[in-house]
Amino acid sequence: MKDCTRKYSYFAYLEGTLTDSEREAFELHLLDCERCRENLIQIQNFLDNIEKHKALKASPYTFTNVMGRIEQNRRAEIRYRKWQPAIIGLVGVVAILTGILLGNYFFKNTAQLTSYLNLNETYHEVIELSLLDNN
C-alpha cells in the first residue's frame, strides 16, 4: 500500500506554503485518495486544537500563587536548617552504636575461635607428656 504521508506534506498544504503546482497536484490526488482526505482532516483537527489552546490565559492569581510557593519553600528551608544539627547528631549516634554492636559481634566470634585453637594445642601437649612419661 502506498504511504502518502511520505510523499505529501499535509502541514505545508494546510499552512499554504506549497507552490501552485504542488498544491494542484495534491488536490488532484485528494480526489482519488480517501486515506489522504482522512489524514488531512486529522492534521486540520490537530492544528485547530493548537489554535484553540493559544488562547489559553494564565490565572490572574498567578503572582499570588507563585509568592505563596516561594514563602512555602522558604519556611521548609528554615525548618530543615533548624533540625539539621539534630538530624546530623542522630545519624552520628546511630552510626557509632552500629559500629559498637558490629564490633562486639565480631569480637565475640573471634574470641570463641581463639579458645578452640587453645584446646587443640592443649590436646597435643597432653599426648607429648604421656609419651615422655612412658619412657
Binding site: 502541514f11 486529522q42 492534521i43 489552546h53 493559544k54 489559553l56 490565572s59 498567578t62 519553600n73
Partner: protein, 190 residues
C-alpha cells in the same frame, strides 16, 4: 515597561513589583510552552508557577549571557521535559480523569459519542507529540504554540537556524505519519 538590565537588577534586589511585571509579561508564554508538552491545563498552570519560582530563586545566578526571555524559556522547557518523564506512566490514568472532568463541564446537549471522539482526538495529539524525539518536540512546540520565529528558537535551543528548520520539518513529517496511523487504526476498528 522595564529596560532589561534595570529589570534584572531589580529582580536581583528582590523587588516584588518588578517580579509581578515579569510574571504578567511572560506567564502566558510559559503556559503555552508547558501546555504544548503536557497537554493538560492544570499541569501546565502548575508547571508555569514552578518556572517562576525557579526564576525568583535563581535570578542571582543569571549572568545576562542570553536575554531574560531566552533564559525563562529554557527553564520552562527543562521543567516541562522533566515533568513529562514523570507523568509518562500516569498518562493513561490522567486521560480517563480528564475525560470524566471534561464530560462534567461540557454542554448538556453533547452526546457521549461526540465526547468520545473528542477524547480520542486529544489522546492522539498527546501521544503523537510524546512520540517525537525531545528536540523535535521542543522546536515544534515553540514554533506552533508560541509562534516563535526560527531565529529565536535557535537562540533558546542553542542551535543554528538551519538546524531548527530541519527539526521542525522532521517533526511535521513524523506527526503527520503518527496522526495518519492513528486515523487508520480508528477506521480499521470500524
Amino acid at each position: 515597561m522595564y529596560d532589561e538590565q534595570i529589570l534584572v537588577k531589580r529582580l536581583k534586589e528582590g523587588d516584588e513589583k518588578a517580579f509581578a511585571w515579569l510574571i504578567e509579561q511572560y506567564s502566558n508564554m510559559v503556559l503555552h510552552v508547558a501546555y504544548g508538552f503536557l497537554q493538560d491545563y492544570q499541569e501546565a498552570e502548575d508547571l508555569m508557577q514552578e518556572v517562576f519560582v525557579a526564576v525568583y530563586e535563581n535570578i542571582a545566578h543569571f549572568r545576562s549571557e542570553s536575554n531574560l526571555k531566552t533564559w525563562i524559556y529554557r527553564i520552562a522547557i527543562n521543567k516541562s521535559l522533566n515533568q513529562q518523564r514523570k507523568l509518562k506512566w500516569k498518562t493513561w490514568m490522567g486521560s480517563i480523569e480528564d475525560y470524566l472532568l471534561w464530560q462534567h463541564k461540557t454542554a448538556e446537549n453533547t452526546t457521549p459519542q461526540i465526547l468520545l471522539i473528542h477524547q480520542e482526538q486529544m489522546d492522539a495529539i498527546e501521544k503523537a507529540l510524546q512520540k517525537l524525539p525531545s528536540n523535535q518536540r521542543t522546536a515544534f512546540i515553540l514554533h506552533k504554540y508560541d509562534d516563535l520565529p526560527h531565529a529565536e528558537i535557535a537562540k533558546i535551543m542553542n542551535l543554528s537556524i538551519p538546524a531548527v528548520e530541519s527539526l521542525i520539518h522532521r517533526a511535521k513529517l513524523n506527526l503527520q505519519k503518527l496522526l495518519a496511523d492513528f486515523g487508520n487504526k480508528k477506521s480499521n476498528k470500524k
